[in-house]
Amino acid sequence: MNAVFSILLCVSAAVLIVRGDGDALLASLTAGAGDAVSACLSMSAAYLVWMGLLNVMRQAGLMRMLSRLLRPVLRLLFPNANDAQEAISLNLAANMLGMGNAATPYGIEAMRRLNASNPHPGTATDEMCVLIAVNASCLELFPASLVALRQSCGSLRPTAVVLPTLLSSLLASAAAVVLCLVCIRPCRSRSSSCC
């Protein structure tokens, strides 16, 4: 990120100088930062609404309900998760409800528990890889912050992207799960520890 940021600034400044328009630099920088400020300001209304509703959902036990629904599937995906099972299902449930901030502590807790029974510390176990691959493919039932951002930018149809987003992330998650199983299968048949 440092490199990207520096290159963006240097290249743009160089182009401006070559064009003899160096004075425009400060105006562009300020306008850009202003874009971010106004986006944050108008997003704050939508964030207040969604974070409030999400907390009502959590306190009403919807996250636990979803995590209980997920458990049979998770038992197939994480056969050796033992005591990490609950943290894993809470992590995925929070992710699906779009509560990234709530998901991270559960995810890290799950990793700790998985690592406690890791026969080769320093090397990822099958369960860890599956957990992270699923997390990195981001299955979200309703992309609240994306809708909030679209709303704040004056979109007439802020929720138009919800269905394609959901379908596309479903496919990505399915691909992640299938690929993980394909990668694990040969290892397990060749007994304990390879790869």
Binding site: M1, V4, F5, L9, V11, S12, A13, V15, R19, A24, A31, G32, A33, D35, A36, V37, A39, M43, S44, Y47, L48, M51, G52, L53, N55, V56, M57, Q59, N101, I108, R112, L114, G122, T123, A124, M128, C129, L131, I132, A133, N135, A136, S137, L146, R150, A160, V161, P164, T165, L166, L167, S168, S169, A172, A175, A176, L179, C180, C183, C195
Partner: protein, 169 residues
């Protein structure tokens, strides 16, 4: 409409479960502003750099240079910056999206595509670093390739789905 029904059911269900709905809402909402304040500096830094990049004309030079590449891949060149930063930083990706909204409008075909691509992928490298870093795992085996292929799946399927839902660009 579905959102109205969802909110109605949620509040009713929460009330039946004897959740203090008002204070739960306020408690959740109180986390919103700190979250945005944490997001703002990164978002501002990237919006600033991107705005300068666009205003200076450097972006046009780059898009023109990349046009053959994106034509070969069948991807809109204006989406390439988003795809390039998405696996590394969520705020940078949001800044790119915001930039597209600003230039073409939030409902333009390119903005709709960018929204779907952003919404259906994750900060792969950040997630991997965070979770494996937390337990000191160095050998990550098949995890990163699998995560990247799944991101590729989300990009390809996202673009196809956009054509289905919103028509060709």
């Amino acid at each position: 409409m579905p959102i109205a029904i969802f909110v109605l059911l949620l509040i009713l269900y929460a009330a039946i479960r004897r959740v203090p709905v008002f204070s739960a809402f306020v408690q959740g909402a109180s986390d919103a502003l700190p979250l945005l304040l944490k997001l703002l500096p990164t978002l501002a830094a990237f919006s600033m750099a991107l705005r300068l990049f666009a205003d200076s004309g450097a972006q046009t030079l780059l898009t023109d240079a990349l046009a053959p590449v994106s034509a070969a891949l069948g991807v809109d060149a204006r989406l390439l910056p988003l795809l390039a930063v998405r696996p590394f930083s969520g705020s940078a990706a949001h800044a790119v999206l915001l930039d597209l909204y600003g230039r073409f409008g939030a409902d333009a075909p390119v903005s709709l595509r960018a929204s779907v691509l952003l919404g259906s992928s994750e900060t792969v490298f950040y997630t991997v670093a965070l979770y494996f870093g937390a337990v000191g795992v160095k050998r990550t085996r098949f995890c990163i390739p699998v995560a990247l292929v799944s991101m590729l799946v989300s990009v390809v399927s996202g673009l196809l789905l956009c054509t289905v839902f919103f028509g060709a660009d």
